[in-house]
Symmetry: C2
DNA sequence: GGTTAAAGAGTGAATGTTCACTCCGATAAA
DNA sequence: TTTATCGGAGTGAACATTCACTCTTTAACC
């Protein structure tokens, strides 16, 4: 059965995700990842060519999972502002529920893995947000700037704040998330 | 003379800063840092207790240097908006001129160094921005939220965008920096 | 000033540890 | 029995850190 095999594979990935979130890439040796997943080191290398491949695969998986949930009940019927608010608050909810994912992603995004390697475009779901922005710009609802820039304005603050949340200097919750969404919308709108 | 000695110390620190910015913490061995600084490995350990201490000291130094320059010609005489714009654009200018510093800082901020250790408050200069916010809030010029949150709204976007700038997907320059400052101000203001 | 001794800075080969990764015997599935 | 999957001791390489030593500067003395 493939099921068992893929179960181990997933266990290795989540084990690595947690350890890396907590200790960083370097301080999460393969042996520890394997032990934590309840498998032998050899098994890890059966499923992943090397540690880098494992890390890169976790990255892609985790992005996919996150986007799937954030855009799960996204509807193009709603007004632009509501759509934005929905995406924003869904993102906050996801971050709060999955701090390890945040830690992993941000570590990855600020490491040479991300800087030095070619862009991996998954984009499929990211495209929904891009479409939203394009539509909003055509209607002069949001500022006419490059989408990357609008993304920065829209999500830069919440990522920044979540970092502070994790160090304990701010308490982020759904309510504050809503306020942030409002403020970020103000920055976006024409 | 102390001068020579501190010269080596500084050389080690800048060498480490560059290597870490480029290769990350783990892929910058002490031997390479020393070689790059033109000193022996032993010398590194004469000036720094260990690699962690070196990294932590670079972090504090680099923050200090950055704040010194950003707030160099900050004046409390100007209107609130102008003060904010000045700080923001000075920050952009600094980032553009010192990408290695950005890479180092962000790597540090998203690593266990920052997450797991107690807060190191230098704050001296950060305090100027906090004061500005407090004043602006008292005058109902900016939204009444916790300073950390306002910081996130103010600087989250530009940090996010600079990351994209470094991967080449956006070209950040002084002009775009100015536009970002304007947009972020919109998010801040009451 | 000249001589010599003490102090301190600088070094890199040597050390012990840790790691990523392999390999082969054990185990389970078919 | 044959075949596919696992596991973890084993391996070499790479690393952080040390230490025994040299070279340079300073201090002390005449």
């Amino acid at each position: 059965m493939k099921d068992k095999a893929w179960d181990k594979r997933r266990k290795i990935m989540t084990s690595a995700l947690h350890l890396i979130a907590e200790n960083g890439f370097h301080a999460s040796p393969a042996a520890m990842i394997a032990r934590n997943a309840g498998v032998g080191v050899g098994t890890l290398y059966r499923y992943f060519k090397n540690k880098d491949a494992l890390i890169r695969e976790i990255y892609m998986q985790v992005r996919q999972d996150m986007d799937d949930i954030i855009y799960r009940d996204y509807s193009e019927e709603l007004p632009v502002r509501d759509r934005f608010m929905g995406i924003f608050t869904a993102r906050v909810k996801y971050l709060l529920a999955h701090p390890d994912t945040y830690k992993f992603l941000e570590q990855y995004h600020h490491s040479p893995y991300y800087f030095n390697k070619k862009r991996e475009k998954s984009a499929s779901d990211e495209a929904l947000f891009t479409d939203l922005l394009d539509y909003a710009k055509s209607r002069h609802i949001v500022k006419d700037m490059d989408n990357k820039i609008l993304c920065a304005i829209a999500f830069g603050p919440i990522l920044f704040l979540f970092k502070e949340h994790l160090t304990g200097s701010v308490r982020l919750d759904d309510e504050l998330g809503g306020k942030m969404a409002g403020a970020c919308w103000d920055a976006l709108k024409f």
